[in-house]
């Protein structure tokens, strides 16, 4: 799907300071070499299988299916991965690549903290230094993950600029990368930023759809009718979609965080409310005002609280291959509680956005239809925030 300049249709590109250009060119050359290197792929597969616990389960949610009374529902259990989310897939790939490139230090941004924890984990495993930038607001929302990162040996730097959330953490990580390039790899956490990141991250996350395809063919003997995943930057979604893009019969549905609603300013639903722009290294859709100032987005989910979306999603939207639907805080919290009570699975609040949309469409579909929902992460980290949302104050 990528042309040589890192474009997905009109989207993508490399809108970054000159200081970083040779760094992304070096990264692209290294990636193009190692992605076809059998030893690199052997090591990565071993890390996936032996360390991260892949392949992750494709679980038939029988109670949920019966309760909703429509399409058959399968859950792709990325929450069962080591560190509790899909983020580890990308991080193991990038950390291994960085190590092959001779880098000794990883920097990363994080929203909910899952990518930061995954990066800190990979750094610990591979003996690398690690610095994680996290919006100050998010360090409060996700205090437990901050502790986990520090425990893993990473330095966590609270970012106080702007809205003190994910976009500011990305900006600060980019600033740090421009000041220290020689020994440092920026381990970007989603399918965003300048080329080649959207392609590299997608390729490492594509293991999700590769497995879904094999598993569903084994269980059902056919492809699913719909694959549903939540979209912030969009890494678990593109990973879940990728091997189905050519299968026209499979609906691909990305669930954006609508926050308090797409008719309010407190939303993070980029494709539903944004316009095309140039930011954080890419051309894509962004929430912005009429002068191009990036909007202070909002969602209950720190991991979806980002004003942009990966360029490949922007393209899949433009060509009508994938649908992007808004899901509000309320719907996500309801779905979070529903999945816990129905299946005994606590999903990340991010993933609950995908569950919420499945709950809307499953009852409208015939019983012989199949939906796969990617549960991108586990929700232990969100319990305190959900309790607060329900008016209960608990201490972690």
């Amino acid at each position: 799907m990528t042309n040589p300049n890192g474009r997905f249709g009109i989207h993508g590109g490399q809108y970054i300071p000159e200081t970083l250009m040779n760094a992304v060119i070096e990264l692209e050359e290294a990636y193009n070499y190692y992605k076809n290197d059998s030893e690199f792929n052997r090591e990565l597969t071993e890390l996936f299988n032996e360390y991260a616990g892949r392949p992750s389960r494709l679980y038939y949610a029988e109670k949920m299916t019966k309760d909703l009374g429509g399409a058959k529902i399968y859950l792709k259990r990325e929450d069962l991965n080591h560190t509790g989310a899909h983020k580890i897939n990308n991080v193991l790939g990038q950390a291994l690549l960085a190590k092959k490139m001779g880098k000794t230090r990883l920097i990363a941004e994080t929203g909910a903290g899952q990518h930061g924890v995954a990066t800190a984990t990979a750094a610990a495993l591979m003996g690398m230094e690690c610095v994680v930038f996290m919006g100050e607001e998010d360090t409060i929302r996700q205090a437990l993950n901050v502790y986990r990162m520090r425990l893993l040996g990473a330095e966590v730097i609270p970012v106080k600029t702007g809205t003190a959330t994910l976009k500011d953490a990305v900006s600060e990580a980019m600033r740090e990368w421009t000041s220290r390039i020689a020994d440092t790899h920026y381990c970007l956490g989603s399918v965003m930023g300048p080329h080649p990141f959207p392609t590299i991250v997608r390729d490492f996350q594509a293991v999700i759809s590769k497995e879904i395809k094999e598993q569903i063919l084994q269980k059902e003997g056919r492809l699913p009718d719909a694959v549903i995943a939540c979209v912030g930057g969009g890494s678990n979604a593109i990973g879940s979609f990728y091997h189905f893009i050519e299968d026209a019969g499979v609906r691909l549905i990305g669930c954006e965080a609508a926050g308090r609603g797409i008719d309010t300013f407190e939303t993070a639903a980029t494709i539903n409310t944004g316009r095309v722009g140039l930011f954080h290294g890419m051309k894509s859709y962004f929430c912005q005002d009429k002068y191009g100032q990036i909007a202070p987005v909002y969602s209950i989910s720190a991991g979806l609280d980002y004003p942009g979306v990966g360029p490949e999603h922007a393209h899949l939207h433009d060509i009508g291959r994938a649908e992007y639907v808004p899901v509000t805080d309320d719907e996500a919290v309801n779905a979070f509680e529903y999945l816990v009570k129905t299946e005994g699975i606590i999903p990340a609040i991010e993933s609950a956005h995908a569950v919420a949309h499945a709950m809307k469409i499953a009852p409208t579909m015939d019983k012989d239809k199949i939906i796969v929902i990617t549960i991108s992460g586990r929700g232990d980290k969100d319990c305190a925030a959900i309790a607060r949302y329900r008016g209960e104050d608990i201490h972690e």
Binding site: N5, G13, Q14, Y15, I16, P17, E18, T19, L20, M21, N22, A23, T161, G162, K167, D168, S171, M174, R175, T178, S179, R180, I181, R275, V276, G277, L278, F279, H280, G281, F286, Q288, K290, Y291, G292, Q293, I294
Partner: protein
Amino acid sequence: MSNIKKAFENGKAFIAFITCGDPDLETTAAAVKAAVQNGADLIELGIPFSDPTAEGPVIQGANLRALNGGVTTDKIFAFVKELRRDVKVPMVFMTYANVVFSYGAEKFISTCRDIEIDGLILPDLPFEEKEEFQPLCKQYGVDLVSLIAPTSENRIAMIAKEAEGFLYIVSSLGVTGTRSEIKTDLASIVKVVRENTDVPCAIGFGISTPEQAKKMADISDGAIVGSAIIKLLEKYGKDASEYVGEYVRSMKDAMR
């Protein structure tokens, strides 16, 4: 070809950066006039952006103060039109790609010509992406200024060959902000630039003292100063123009 070359006709050029609307446009006007009266050869007017990824804390602060003060691209266009009655030295806009793109590139760049803005500096638009705005800049006679960084190495010749207006040489790794020491081998970079273009080159990032300005001017065609001026605006607010004038004079004197 714009008027930018005139900025390099009075010896080494002193280039002053000021964020429009920090803390308000009246102060910006006074500061620009004071800078020009005291020897600034070219003015870089910043159009604030919500997320200035190439800036250090000082200029980030200026962007925030300006946006909180309610300045917009349209207000800045009207302001520059007015300012042009008094200010005759070349002026360029320094902003981020999305500010131009979102306004509508053609509308933005044609307005630049109408209000006599000579060039455009976009730190997040590298050589590979300049096609985004270059054809329109050419059409309307606005120079799209290219940047060269300490990491540019094998890219310097390619960038210099297509340079317009002037070349902005970034002195150090990292973001804007004052530095006690500049370690990059800038003379070698300037040498490659000279071999590939006649367009003048000026050095920016981290320059704050007259000694640094002299040193940079000795190896290139001029010095660009932003954060040190913004600090004066931050400290003295509406009364800053006098201090900006004094400061610019001390810098320009050191470069003569």
